[in-house]
Amino acid sequence: MFSDYAALIVLLPVLAFVLTLFFGKKFPSGGAALPIAAIAGSFIISFGIFLEIYPHGTVQQSMQWFSTLNFGILIDPLAVVMLMMVSFVSLLIHIYAVGYMSHDTGKPRYFAETSLFTAAMLAVVLSDNILQFFMAWEVVGLCSYLLIGFWFHKPTAAAAAKKAFLVTRVGDVLFLAGIVLLYVNMTNILANTGFSLEPGNFMLQFKSMFAAIPYIAPTQLTIITLLFFGGAVGKSGQFPLHGWLPDAMEGPTTVSALIHAATMVTAGVYLVARTFPMFVEAPNALLVVAYVGGFTALFAATMGLVMNDIKRVLAYSTVSQLGYMMLALGTAGMVLGAKAVGISMFHLLSHAFFKALLFLCAGSVIHAVGTNDLREMGGLFGKMKITATTMFIAALALGGFGIPGLHIGTAGFFSKDAIIEGAYEYGHVTGDMIPYVFSIIAALLTSIYIFRLWFMAFSGKPRQDRHAHESPKVMTIPLIILALFALFFGFSQAGFYGYLETNFELMGVEIGVHEGEALHPSTLILWLPIIVGVLGLVISYLIYNRRILDMSRIVTRRNPVYQILLNRYYEPRLSSYVIGEKLTHGVVAMSGEFFDRKIIDGLVIDNIISRTLLSLGDVIKKLQTGVVRNYASVTLLGVGLLIILLRIGGM
């Protein structure tokens, strides 16, 4: 019954967007009511569909758009878990925002845009074809642009919004190029090989794409998947297109929570998961996914260590965790097959819960103390017990705390350890241990930076006289709900893997699930992730709580390592200043302008045409002024020429 209304999952928030944008002021709490109701509706329908199709059903609806293209819905296990997560987390963030944005005058615009943001993400998730996926994906980008720049009167916000759009746009162009190449390949194999579409199927549907894989030349498949991955790199903030994400915190904190947890950055990981059957057939592309992911996980974590802005620490944490998800798809994809999708998606969901929680806690802190700067916080535990406790839980989840032997632990423990184990297994099978080493070091750094953040914010004595207070219930209740998920979501691991394992078989694609070759990791390997996690906690405790080390002697202008990290490897300067301002605008655009004005216009037009013909015009003007005369004379000239030409032509 719910399946018949699948389209409403997207349409309800779209409707809420339109109504809130134009009539938001007339609705309760600045227009928040409609999006909340709409997204609650989306969640209920998604959940209802889940109950209906579990364990082996899918929902497929499709209609022709134009030509060989279609609009359609595909809800399979992969999509339905994502739909539930997106709508649920987005719902909680919307409720929280009622409190967080209560003093903002732009509430109707805010809630309209977040509603569209959620709708676009839901549309990405349930797309049944790659083009519609891309279209919704672009609308996600638009909404992130509008929301990061929500406080558009702040120049930094306007700049960050632009950067986010442009950097992800680089990825989008690659993604689009991949679609172009896929379309061309599909057309050619339809014309030239025995491959044909089943009746009622359209060319760019995922199932058609998967069915066509055996017919596509391997090099073409590798290029297509790499181009898709290029899109994912942009959207999911992977190196080297990661720079926009930390800047994106210029928007309201609730927007950051949406972007980082529910509605945007996960789209890139989801794209790779969605098209995973193609990646599996292109091992070279998978290797690139693994390395980019692994490197990003480590690279971003190093910057998380030194940031002083509470949201920026979390932003680098997101980049790093997304790297883990990519790493899982890459490494586990090569040795475990379809299971990799389950491993990666499980971390995606568990990360969504605890990262949304971290951001909302940060928002609660910022709301209370009025600053983002960790150095101006401290000693808030006594004043904000709920926020502090829930944030500690989130930090434990991010750090992956749990007990390996007993299968007890936070959500992050189950989800991240599986990724690290997958990387180990990949290393064991192929002898390439680099991704595993990356993931272990990154785990240590993760634990250090997140507890550094927690101790700096909540422990010690208050560093400034601020009248901090706990946030209202509308904000704390979402925190508590998310904390419960951060604690207990991990226990659904086995069921989750089982549910997603058969996902592609439902579409008739046999990827195969390898169980690994009787791999029994030693106790050390099993315990290593939690050991480095505890180690990180202890290090942060000693430095930022007990203060056994004078950080002011390390954190100096003279320390080159610190400077590189603090300046984020000079990426902002490179992308905005060198590439944007100097190279594109300064060199290419301005030399084009010079060419246009001085060469084409200056040398050719003004000299040749203007001088001769305008002086002719002057002569005629002396006889008779007025432009009509000019016109007449030019026309006459034309006719005269014509007559001469016809004479020559022998007429």
Binding site: F66, A158, F165, L176, V184, T187, G580, T584, I609, V634
Partner: protein, 500 residues
Amino acid sequence: MALISLMILVPLLGAIIAFLTKTRQQARAVALIASVIPLVISLFLFTYFNRGVTAIQFYEAYPWIQSLGISLSFGIDGVSLPLVLLSTIIIPLTVIFAWGETEQANKFYGLILLELVGVLGVFTSLDFFVFYIFWEVVLIPMYFLISIWGGPRKDYAAIKFFIYTHVASLVMLLAIFTLYFNAFQVSGVLNFDMQYLLKSYSLIGSPLLKDVVFLGLLFGFLVKMPAVPFHTWLPDAHVEAPTAGSVILAALLLKMGGYGLFRVILPTLPFTASTGLLITLMAVIGVVSILYGTFLALAQRDLKKMVAYSSISHMGYVTLGAAALVPLSISGAMFQQFSHGLITGVLFMSCGVIQHSAGTRIIHELGGLAKHMPKLALVMMAGFMASLGLPGMSGFVAEFLVLVNSYFTLPTFVILALFSIVFTAAYHLWAMQRAMFGAYNEKLGHIHDGANYEIFAMGVLVLLVIYFGLNPGSVLNMMTANAEHLDRLLRFAVLRGVIT
């Protein structure tokens, strides 16, 4: 039913009445009525047009100068109807947008109506001579719109516009006459019928003359589009033109060039002496226009000039899609014409509102306008997003169709064109950031939002852009049959071994 001639005569009559009116209220009322009636007619044509056939429909013909084989014959097919629809949408909205015009209002509205007469004549004429007359008719009102209501350098701009397009027209006229006399030599019949003359093209004896005639026609159309390197008249004309003039210029007059490509160039292209080379030439011009327009837009300080260069870039897709000669690339290029007409209207109207309100369009002299102009900010943002190719809006469909389908025949050019996408987004967002966002520039003093009629005109265009972005089939299905017909000509040429 003489629907098409009625559609052309009503605005002509309206123009005469508008010239004679005494007050601006009367003039604008006349203009609105005389432009809405053609809209109603074109909606009727749109509804009852028989999709899926290539033939001319709603045909009507009246003898004129029979001794020279000239007749007033009109009709529409899938190539022309979308542009007829576009013209009859744009002109009433332009009249509404310019509802507050005070300076010599009767002439102003009269000239706008004459533009409608001209473009409708161009898009529906089936006689090459009549086509040429309308082609010239379009020029004159635009010349006056620029030179009377224009900015400080209006004389320079108006004359430059005039000379450029007029030289192009003359070259085209010579080519038409060559076709005419050639057909006469072959058959002994004097006839200006367009289809007849185009079919007779392949009978031109000398290969050199064939290519010269083709290049003459091509030149005439490329200048109008405009394509690089024949484009420099456009930014100057736009900078000086009043907003209504710019809207008509960009939304309709440029489309005449593209229309020429589909109506005249593609049917003759397979029969030229050096088809392969000429296809490459067109593809190069198309891609260079896309990239060059993009980078030049990035260099501009004047918002309106930036939009002008973006037109050059977007019209490059038309040339590229036409040159690729794949059915859907041709449809995509035709759809790009239609789509760009709607989108560019919003952009130029935005520039007009800003100029009117802030007194300047220099981007760095603006800043933070969104704070005081929320309504403008909304429609302008929608227009800019459409222009940078956001999916869900018409521009995306057009550019996607062109890029994907051109890849079959011109892969390298498509890869080059893809590069422009990031930079296209860059100049749009850069302009939004500097002009609309950030701190409000207090030097501008107190400014007000766009008038309701201005926002209305822009809002309608935005809604249409979204409608045709989600439902492109309603226009594309008119074009498909003609596009496939043009493609069959190409296949014929391949069989003849002209190109490989």
